[in-house]
């Protein structure tokens, strides 16, 4: 049980190599909630350039199950928050549509959408959430949340491609926390009653216990919940208020990863990257009809072709039939030994109580129920292509 070996496996699961190189070359950043994590006894690890809690003393399994049954709070302040600011909604939305394949023009007031920044070849530079403010007086602004490890590159990419009348304003002085789980609504409503009025994938400003916040009803766990952006200097106060609720426990990156894997969500740098298109990644649902027809986004020719003719490979869920987890990088083969793909995320699903994975397979093997083998430590383990998510989504529609 060499400690370096343990550490390197943790790297494989949690970080891209790029993250790791960045982490050892630079000093780690801290979120405004760092002291809260340390005081709670969290085990801190480098992630995306930040010193982040991977787990608290109760451990990943308990944190995962607590979130599915009660409410978990996650510090996601390492993620990038920014506003696109232009003269009116149409101008700003059209500027963003030149970079992403989702319908931004058609966003309603307060509506949030998931999309991807694409390379000219249709590869995924990052995935992000975009919210149009409720208040018509804020038309021309769109709120963006991007990944931690990619945010600097994303901002450079966007800034270089925006028209003169649309600018990117980073919100580096704001923390972000996610409150997730079936009790998230009642917990937040105790401090901000209007939280109950929100529906899934909408966002709005509100005060939570007197703290000004931008709140969206969304998340990365498959459960109902909220993502809450607050000024850095009020973050610890809000975290303390929320964790004082007996339904709430702090949850680390370890359970965040197992929750999102059960929910079938992609982790950037693992399940999607510049070498994968949204269609290969089975993110077709995130490209609305008008964009499929009109195009006008990077990689449109490829994506249009893929929508018409299909792709050579496809991201699928994978259900190992035994008890052994198959980790990222495990080769996927046919039962007669032909290599057909690779696992991009894999581990144990605490709620489903079995190993779970996702990965890419040649499309002829992508049908749910297809028998496959996963090569783990030289052994071929039987598995089946499975429907995603593993754990049913429970959103407030």
């Amino acid at each position: 049980m060499a400690k370096p070996a343990m550490a390197s496996h943790v790297h494989l699961t949690l970080w891209t190599n790029e993250d790791f190189m960045a982490d050892i070359g630079e000093s780690l950043l801290q979120t405004p909630l760092h002291a809260q994590h340390v005081a709670a006894g969290a085990r801190m690890v480098p992630f995306g350039g930040y010193d982040m809690p991977v787990q608290y003393p109760t451990g990943i399994l308990n944190e995962h199950l607590w979130t599915r049954e009660n409410a978990g709070i996650f510090d996601v302040s390492h993620m990038g928050q920014a506003w696109l600011v232009g003269p009116d909604h149409e101008t700003t939305a059209r500027a963003l549509e030149k970079l992403v394949p989702a319908d931004m023009l058609g966003l309603k007031h307060g509506q949030q959408r998931y999309t991807q920044l694409l390379t000219d070849e249709g590869g995924i530079i990052d995935d992000l959430m975009v919210t149009r403010p409720v208040d018509p007086a804020m038309d021309g602004k769109l709120f963006l949340i991007v990944n931690a490890g990619t945010k600097e590159g994303d901002y450079l990419h966007m800034a270089a491609r925006l028209p003169a009348d649309v600018r990117l304003e980073r919100t580096d002085d704001h923390a972000l926390m996610a409150l997730q789980g079936p009790k998230a609504c009642e917990v937040l409503a105790r401090l901000a009653p209007e939280a109950t009025e929100m529906t899934f994938m909408t966002g709005r400003f509100m005060e939570i216990a007197g703290i000004p916040a931008h709140v969206s009803r969304s998340g990365y766990t498959g459960e109902d919940g909220y993502e809450i952006s607050v000024p850095d200097e009020r973050a610890a106060e809000l975290w303390d208020r929320l964790t004082a609720d007996e339904a709430v426990k702090p949850i680390g990156l370890g359970a965040r990863d197992s929750l999102r894997l059960e929910a079938g969500y992609c982790l950037y740098g693992h399940d999607i990257d510049t070498r994968t298109s949204p269609i290969e990644a089975a993110l077709n649902w995130s490209i609305q009809k008008r964009r499929r027809e009109e195009g006008g986004f990077p990689g449109f020719d490829r994506i249009k072709g893929e929508l018409t003719n299909g792709t050579a490979r496809k991201r699928v869920g994978i259900q190992p039939e035994g008890r052994a987890p198959a980790r990222e990088g495990s080769v996927i083969a046919t039962p007669d030994g032909r290599e057909i793909g690779v696992v991009t995320s894999g581990g144990f699903g605490p709620s489903v109580q079995t190993p779970v994975a996702m990965g890419y397979v040649a499309t002829e093997f992508a049908a749910v129920g297809t028998d496959i083998h996963l090569i783990v430590r030289g052994k071929a383990l039987p598995a089946k292509v499975a429907a995603l998510p593993f754990s049913p989504h429970r959103y407030k529609r």
Binding site: A2, V10, G59, I60, L61, P350
Partner: protein
């Protein structure tokens, strides 16, 4: 009367007669977190000191367990398959992995005593 020896990789071997009972230490299980899967060798397999003897997987990570001593695997803890969390709950007791018939009791001399291991863990944590 039994003696327990430790490796720097956080395996223990508890010697009873000519048999060594091998597992991972409490420190190791605390570092790993919740164990969800264990892969044990076949009974009869010859293991070499320092060679891979088993695999233990937590929610997040897979780790190799190395044989602290050479010899033949004479028994494996089959209960772990259905209850891998036993390794977290009772690593030194019910959470043992394998029993090895010692090939060379002299190998034990190179391993750490309880006192040395405790000091070692203190120095790295």
């Amino acid at each position: 009367m039994s003696t327990t020896r430790y490796t720097k990789d956080h395996e223990y071997v508890r010697v009873e007669g000519d048999t060594g009972i091998v597992g991972i230490t409490d420190y190791a299980q605390s570092q790993l977190g919740d164990v969800v899967y264990v892969e044990l060798p076949a009974v009869g397999k010859a293991v070499e000191k320092g060679g891979e003897a088993a695999v233990v997987e937590s929610v997040k990570a897979a780790s190799e367990v190395y044989a602290p001593v050479s010899g033949e695997v004479v028994e494996v803890n089959g209960d772990l398959e259905a209850a891998p969390a036993t390794i977290n709950e009772d690593p030194a007791g019910k959470g043992w992995f394998i029993k090895i018939k010692l090939k060379d009791a002299g190998e034990l001399d190179a391993l750490m005593s309880q006192e040395d291991y405790d000091a070692y863990v203190k120095s790295i944590s």
